[in-house]
Symmetry: C2
């Protein structure tokens, strides 16, 4: 199933996640490799694409981290997601022929660009690939719905806990340590993403640290008690949860 990964000559980074997400067979992978190209290396603050740019590619994060955000008419920024190695970015361009978001590197990063026009054409000849693509786009919808629930219904503590658990879960999917979370974004960016003030994020994290739920080590957050973190994220819904802490 994951044979594709083995076939990549030497450079496996970034392609393993691609295989994981697409779950491609060799033949499909070869097709896809044909329409991928390096989008180059970006410094911190470098843009993969900007709002209003014509939409012609989706991107696969090869290394580093990106944040995707939207700026409204008054110059206010809303962060819609953080994307790590292996994530697909750029489907925000699907609805129009222009991107409605910007994607910027949070640290030195790189990505592959996949021509969407060619991808579409490839899908026409390859129903299995089309299916994968729809699934990945569907995952993006599901992710946004999840985030909406978190922002709309969760308390400050729950939001931060949910975000950490999300990254932990992601790490697990990609075979990384689920307790060591790489968080290159600032507190202000976390707050923006979660719909809360930077100060609140800081307070919640300090509180978690005091309760020995996590440990903060620069841009790394180490989860000490994932069960407690789950309990926090799920608290408030049922009072029984609170007793079990």
């Amino acid at each position: 199933m994951y044979g594709c990964c083995v076939r990549v000559d030497g450079n496996r980074c970034g392609l393993i996640p691609l295989c994981l997400q697409f779950i491609l067979i060799d033949a499909e992978f070869d097709l896809l490799k044909g329409i991928m190209r390096h989008a180059g290396k970006l410094q911190k603050g470098g843009h993969l694409y900007r709002q209003e740019d014509p939409f012609d590619s989706v991107y696969l994060v090869r290394a580093g981290t990106f944040k995707v955000y939207r700026v409204d008419e008054w110059g206010e920024e809303q962060i819609l997601g953080f994307y790590y190695q292996g994530d697909l970015i750029g489907v925000d361009g699907l609805s129009a022929d222009r991107h409605i978001c910007s994607a910027v590197a949070l640290e030195p990063s790189s990505a592959y660009a996949i021509s969407f026009k060619l991808l579409e054409r490839l899908c026409c000849d390859n129903p299995a690939l089309q299916r994968r693509l729809f699934q990945m786009i569907g995952s993006e919808i599901a992710r946004e719905q999840q985030l909406m629930i978190i922002i709309g219904k969760f308390s400050a503590e729950q939001r931060v806990a949910a975000m950490l658990l999300g990254i932990a879960w992601r790490n697990k999917q990609f075979g990384l340590a689920p307790e060591r979370l790489w968080m290159p974004m600032t507190r202000a960016e976390m707050g923006n993403y979660l719909g809360m003030a930077m100060e609140s994020v800081s307070r919640v994290l300090s509180n978690f640290q005091r309760r020995v739920v996590v440990d903060i080590d620069g841009k790394w957050i180490v989860v000490h008690d994932i069960d407690k973190l789950c309990a926090i994220a799920n608290s408030g819904h049922s009072e029984i949860q609170l007793l079990s802490i």
Copy 2:
């Protein structure tokens, strides 16, 4: 361009919006008509599909209104959208082979079901149709992003104003009066959708009515001053806005 609408024998309702959204040419429309079937009439409270149902169709609202919602592990409901005639529902099933949301009628309603398997196949042979489908799914992503910004950054007043403007804008798109808004959902449902308490929704609407911005007439809301409504939705971002009221 919209020739398809004329070709529908007698029954144009629900298909005009289809044409508007897909912007189909005759040939494409005929293809699509072949894979559509009536999903029957639903009473208020009747479900088009439920969370966990296998995903095999997307739906086009023919008449009435639907709400799409998700119930989390603790039985708490989150409403993710209200859908009127001509809207496409069901893409929440894309990521898995099951729906992750439920769709329920808010009043006597009906819908067309479009087999997704057949739609996919049709897209393979018809790149233009594939393009439309991606666009429509992209619109769903864009809509969710918009909602996230509203929930994450807007005040109670701004949220309600934004929701009303959204429906007004939609009406305009579909050739309906942009000042007469049909709102079959309860205050509690509006509140759930917007991430606020039912009482707050009620207060904001009363306030709008007092300021002669809108008039409430049962399940209809009549917008008297759309400019003021826009000003409210956009206020808080710049202080200049407040002075101009």
